[in-house]
Amino acid sequence: MTASKVYSTTSWAWEYTHRYQNDGQAWVEILNGTEDDAVVLTSAFNEDTYMGKGTILQRPASSMPVDPMTPTYQEFMDYVTPFRWGSGFGSKTSLNTTAFGTHPIHMYVVDSHHPESNFREFAGVFVAGGSAATTNHYLNGPVPLPSWGVPAQNQDRGLAVYDKGTGIMREYFMVTSTTSNAAVWKSTGAGYSVNTPGLNNLATDNYALQQEVGRSNIAGMHNSLGFIGIAEALNRKINHALCFTVASLRMTNDDGSYRSSWPSRGADGKLERYMPGGDLVKPTGPYDGPIYSPAHGQWGRLPMDIDFNHNPRTGAPYPLFCQLVMKAAQQYGLVATDTNLFVHAFNTEQGTTFKHAYGVDPWTTGGVIDEIYKGPVGDGGGLQGIREFPWHLVEWAPMDWGRPNPDMNLHPGQLMPWRG
């Protein structure tokens, strides 16, 4: 049976019609789908459909200039800030997944124009620097999201909804139910950008993957596209730069201005409070590490001359999963887009959608991905192999590497475009 698909401007729905006749009478068959038809159920990181194609996250790291402060930054990132707590597998680097640890921002790719799209009602969303008009227009009210879609289930409770139907990319921070109605959600931070429908043109629509207004993570970016994708982990190749979460940084420069590097739209950190003269002392005693750190948004990369078969610190090969991440850091680089508490952490694509489709979260310890990386090399292997990520080898770009002039993206509180 061949179906014809007609969009009804009356019902705002696709109608699948089969026309049949019998004994001179005819009728129409209408096929209805389910809300899942309006959700991209596959990984958002399939190489051929990756939304971040051609964006800043695929900028070749080989073209990156190196900042002279790199040795200081390397020492800082290896020192792991005053907050080291023994978390993150007892290491300085952790992995945020839906199966263990801090949940990453939950990103869903949906199509609000699909007739079966489900919508979640939002109210009382706060947007730094946003007007009531734009907040209500883009972030409050019905937001396309499957009924089974949830924000991160711990910590920042982050949620990202990338709508192919309208091209609107929504981001929410700390999503919870409203007190008056559990079915209506709110958030204490949010941001958005408007792009071409289909979201196949972000390389030109939104090269830097920035939220246009508001901020849901420190960098105010669509950083979910820099997470480690399920498809990538399964295919053993990451095709973009890594948006990681950093333990803590300097929040301000020496002159008191906020320390932020394009494409980040914000700054964060508490190092000043632990430095000499600060008001805090770390649990293990006075802070004696470097007092200068990279900034959110500042690009970094690993050098190409790394011997993956020999980690000088262990005498053994780097664990397989660490190698996967390191190779992406060599080819595309890495960038801090959010702040953690105790350790540096790489983020992964949420497994909620995968679990909905296949019944199990792929990031589960001993699960389909973990098993791939439990190879014969490395001590421990599996996903925990991320702990050996060599922060002391990361080279850092100068602040604002590649920033356009003028930079039309207005950061929260900024009223004029930056012009160099």
Partner: protein, 412 residues
């Protein structure tokens, strides 16, 4: 109408071309729902009463004959007016308009330019401009992400007014109209706003008095930023002395009846100007202590951070800061001496003339002209603001005098 459960239907779901319904009443119209089809879809059938025998799909010709017309579905118009012997009706696939709100343009008053962002679904146009009372209709698309020189684009020189409208592209809509009218000022205007030669009685508290406008402009009141209500009056350390505006020492201030000093070494006169030139004769009986400074504020109501534009006479020279510029930019070096000082803030340019140095100018980021601060426009003087307590006593004891003050509005 009776409903038939899918379990009543014989045949594997998704592959059938014939269904047999065993429970349908002979005289009823029925419908069937079949779930579990490919793509997790569900099929709904409306089954006419009395249906018997096998079904077959109607051909387009049969449909056309039955309907009396042929539907042509597609973005492009049909090639013929008749098909299958019946008229062709063209149905263009519909789509949902995407509703967006275009961001506000950025106005660059001093360069006569405007900046608009790239917006998926909209473009910005200059739809008219008004010069010397004459309005001209235009339809000029603005290039996004760049400072568009309107004088060049429109062929007129400042001052002029423009109207810019955002227009949705195909497939988009706005929740309302979005247009902006903006006046670009005449940057050549020079107007003395007020002046003061301070030819008044010695010892008079200057707070609450009027400028005498002896050198031009109109009389304006002197006020404190934040003073202390002593004996029913707001006092500052500034007084009339020897036909000049003199800042008292702390001891003199106390002797005059004040109970506290340290944050009331200030005085201002509201002048209502965005761009200002301030000139005055300064008498410094003693050097400015190291680490201290006298602030000369040329505040615009549009400043968004702190009090905005500020020149500082320090122990080492003159510095400048603006809302968009890091503080302490050096404008003149060398220990300050008595004599005439001229400070100008003209759009994105700051200029300084000191008694012992030629004009020096710096440009800085375009100032912000959208949000007012609490003070409004004014020229003001202060000397202990935001400084550590270690330096305040020395500044409290510092005295200096201002004379022949002229405040001029630049542009607009």
């Amino acid at each position: 109408m009776a409903w038939i459960k899918a379990t009543d239907i014989v045949g594997p779901p998704g592959t059938f071309d014939k269904i047999t319904v065993s429970t349908i009443p002979a005289d009823a119209t029925a419908s069937a729902t079949i779930g579990g089809l490919p793509g997790n879809r569900t099929a709904h059938f409306n089954i006419p009463r009395g249906l018997t025998g096998p079904m077959k799909e109607e051909t387009p010709a049969e449909i056309a004959t039955r309907q009396g017309y042929h539907l042509h579905l597609g973005q492009n118009a049909p090639l013929t007016a008749f098909m299958y012997g019946v008229p062709v009706i063209w149905i263009k696939p519909g789509y949902q308009l995407i509703s967006i709100i275009p961001p506000t343009p950025t106005w660059l008053d001093y360069s006569g330019a405007v900046m608009v962002p790239t917006v998926a679904g909209a473009g910005y146009y200059v739809t008219s401009f008004t010069k010397a009372g004459t309005t001209t209709v235009a339809n000029k698309l603005l290039t996004p992400n760049t400072a568009v020189d309107l004088a060049t684009l429109l062929g007129v020189a400042q001052p002029f007014d423009v109207r810019i409208e955002a227009k949705p592209n195909t497939g988009y809509m706005f929740p309302s109209e979005y247009f902006w009218n903006h006046a670009y000022p005449n940057m050549a205007n020079r107007t003395i706003m007020t002046s003061d030669t301070f030819t008044r009685a010695n010892g008079e508290f200057v707070n609450g008095t009027m400028t005498n406008a002896a050198l031009g402009g109109t009389a304006r009141p002197w006020q404190v930023f934040s003073g202390h209500n002593v004996n029913g009056g707001n006092y500052t350390t500034f007084e009339i002395n020897g036909n000049s505006l003199r800042k008292r020492s702390q001891a003199e201030f106390y002797a005059a009846g004040a109970v506290k000093t340290g944050d009331s070494n200030n005085i201002r006169v509201d002048v209502g100007s965005q761009n200002q030139r301030v000139e005055f004769d300064l008498t410094l009986p003693a050097p400015i202590p190291t680490g201290g400074r006298i602030d000369f504020l040329l505040a615009a109501s549009s400043s968004t951070f702190g009090s905005g534009f500020m020149f500082n006479i320090t122990a080492d020279g003159v510095t400048f800061s603006s809302p968009a510029t890091a503080a302490g930019q050096i404008m003149a070096t060398g220990a300050p001496v008595s004599g005439k000082y001229i400070f100008e803030r003209d759009g994105i340019t700051a200029r300084v003339k000191t008694p012992n140095a030629d004009w020096f100018s710096r440009t800085f980021d375009e100032p912000v002209f959208t949000v007012g601060n609490g003070h409004g426009n004014f020229f003001g003087i202060r000397d202990t603001h935001a400084l550590p307590n270690t330096i305040r006593p020395a500044l409290n004891n510092l005295t200096y005098s201002i004379d022949n003050l002229i405040v001029t509005q630049l542009g607009f």
